[in-house]
């Protein structure tokens, strides 16, 4: 398969700080690729190197198979949607979209018809003569994307473009972005710190931390088979249990916390008894019941007291403190409404399948 973007062992340093550390990456044609990481992980530096605003200290970046070494941003087959969109306030919507075409010396009437066609495709037909400040947040977003896509780039870079929008609009724009990408078939490289954006939108996600990729995979792989403690903790909600490895039974490890709680989880990587380990248990894998008999068979039972109820519609959860060790654990409430009458202070039992919890050697990183 043709790779639209290949990043080959790229490094960028600022003084003694390495922002991007010998990082490699390949994005196939037509895919939606996200780079997910907390702020300061180097994802913006990486994006700016791809766009050409920064030059890598080491390594090479190839776009459409062509090395971009020494190629200025205005000569790369790449366009970028900026964090705050950077629409030109001194120009109309049509002039914004036509800007790049005019720079390529496309004839004015051809520019005009391409701008109109593009406005039609992003659902803004007839907005050509509007001023930028007359548009809503979502419309500005579409103009920013249209302004780049009208140039038919090999690669579209998006720098957290949804960050400035309110929640409702952000949810809406997520769907719109995915549809636009499917429509145009352009390869999108999207950077964000919002894991929900990355999971919803992408074909592949790279989780980045301290200048390196922790794991690259489909959203499902990242969620269900995290390969490092960082990915397990960063992608989706998770309960983290740190302790030392006790009995190792095949791939199931028993983790004993400092407070004395012993839980069982599936080992990721080689773990021997005595290792410092971290286990992660997703809130939705923990079963909640009022009596032990109601727990699914095979689940190791714990007793706890309800600390607080976190009602959030379909994402409702409950914080439970294990009765002996006072370890706090977050448990998702089932959608059936079976625990709608649960009160703080009530005693409950809970347990989870050891196969669905994952355990790492503490501090391990991606390859």
């Amino acid at each position: 398969m043709q790779q639209d973007l290949e990043v080959d062992r790229v490094t960028k340093r600022y003084g003694s700080h390495t922002a991007v550390d010998t990082l490699s990456l390949a994005v196939p044609h037509g895919s939606f690729f996200s780079i997910l990481g907390p702020s300061g992980c180097g994802k913006t530096t990486l994006l700016r190197m791809i766009a050409g605003f920064l030059a890598p200290d080491e390594g090479d970046i190839r776009i459409g198979g062509r090395s971009m070494r020494g190629v200025a941003p205005n000569r790369r087959p790449v366009n970028m949607v900026f964090q705050h969109l950077a629409l030109f306030p001194m120009m109309s919507v049509g002039e914004n979209i036509g800007y790049g075409l005019a720079r390529r010396r496309v004839a004015p009437d051809a520019t005009r018809s391409r701008v109109d066609a593009m406005l039609e495709r992003v659902g803004l037909a007839g907005a050509r003569d509007k001023r930028i400040d007359q548009l809503s947040g979502g419309q500005k977003q579409r103009v920013a994307i249209a302004r780049s896509l009208v140039l038919e780039p090999t690669l579209l870079l998006l720098d957290e473009p949804l960050g400035a929008l309110d929640l409702k609009l952000r949810e809406h724009m997520k769907i719109e972005l995915k549809q636009l990408q499917a429509d145009f078939g352009t390869t999108f490289v999207y950077i964000t710190h919002d894991q929900s954006e990355a999971l919803v939108l992408s074909d592949h996600v790279a989780v980045m931390s301290a200048g390196r990729f922790e794991q690259v995979g489909t959203p499902q792989e990242l969620y269900y088979q995290p390969r490092t403690p960082f990915v397990a903790g960063f992608v989706g909600a998770n309960n983290r249990v740190a302790g030392s490895a006790g009995r190792v039974d095949g791939e199931i490890v028993e983790i004993v916390t400092g407070a004395g709680l012993a839980v069982r989880a599936r080992a990721s990587g080689a773990i021997v008894a005595g290792d410092a380990v971290e286990a992660f248990v997703r809130p939705e894998t923990v079963a909640l019941a009022r009596v032990t008999a109601e727990l699914p068979p095979g689940a190791q039972p714990f007793t706890g007291r309800v600390e607080s109820l976190l009602f959030d519609g379909a994402n409702s959860a409950v914080l439970v403190r294990e009765i002996k060790t006072h370890t706090e654990i977050r448990i998702a409430l089932p959608q059936t409404g079976r625990f709608a009458d649960l009160d703080a202070g009530e005693t409950v039992v809970f347990g989870f399948d050891a196969q669905r919890a994952v355990c790492f050697r503490a501090g391990s990183h991606g390859d």
């Binding site: 941003p73 950077a86 001194m90």
Partner: protein
Amino acid sequence: MATETAGDLAAPRTRLALLLLLAPALVWLVGLIVLPHIELAVLSLRARVAPRIYEMSLKQYATFVDEPLYWHTFVRTAAMSILATACTLLIAFPAAWYIAKIARGRKKSVLFVLCLIPFWVSETVRTLGWMILLRESGVMPRLLVDLGITPAPVEMLYHDATILVGLVYTSMLFMVVPLVSALESLDDSLIEAAYDLGGNGWSILRQIVVPHAAPGIVAGSIVVFMLAVGNYLTPTLLGGKNSLWFTEQIYTQFITRFNWEQGAAFGFLLLLLSTAIVWLGLTLSGQRFGDVMRRA
């Protein structure tokens, strides 16, 4: 009810306080600008028919039209001032760009202060400094001889170019300050976006930077033009007898000829001239006076 009473009582008091606060500005405005101008207007519209006897007349303005030297000086002053404004803009723009967009932290404030430092000495001293540098026995002609560029010292004072140099130097700060503030408010990502979409330095300057900075450019240009047109010292000292600056004509009428009526008419003509040119500049650049002055 109680709050209403309090409000009623407070209203006249607030008005009084406002009036007192405005008093110095009002005194300044009425006493030093409005009243003298009314007096000048009256003066300019009368002619002496016999000792101590005056009558209403447009004679002073007629003299201006009839005498070629006067309106020649008038047009020359306007043209030179516009040229000085354009030169100041051309020199100040890169400097302002550097201060606003490239220099960071300490360097930025140092550069800003450097622009300000010449204003710590009086205009007379600054202009005399130029004279020391440029006169025939001065530093520059000496240097040119030493470098073998000219065989003998040349007189660099009393040329039109010398007047321009002096005017540009005097008004630089008034151009740099509004330009820096206009350029600082330009989001860097706009420039990056334009570059990313295929723009080059020139097209970005023309389509993104200049339209954004237009109010600052116009504000700086108005101030610099006004300063140049109304300048007396610099053209007189650096241009000598050849300077032919309109303010000199006004000075001559008032002080040398003691013809206050003629001087007043010239003063009014200068006011009309600068107003007309500023209006023209605003119209051509499509800016509104209020917006521009807020940037200055």
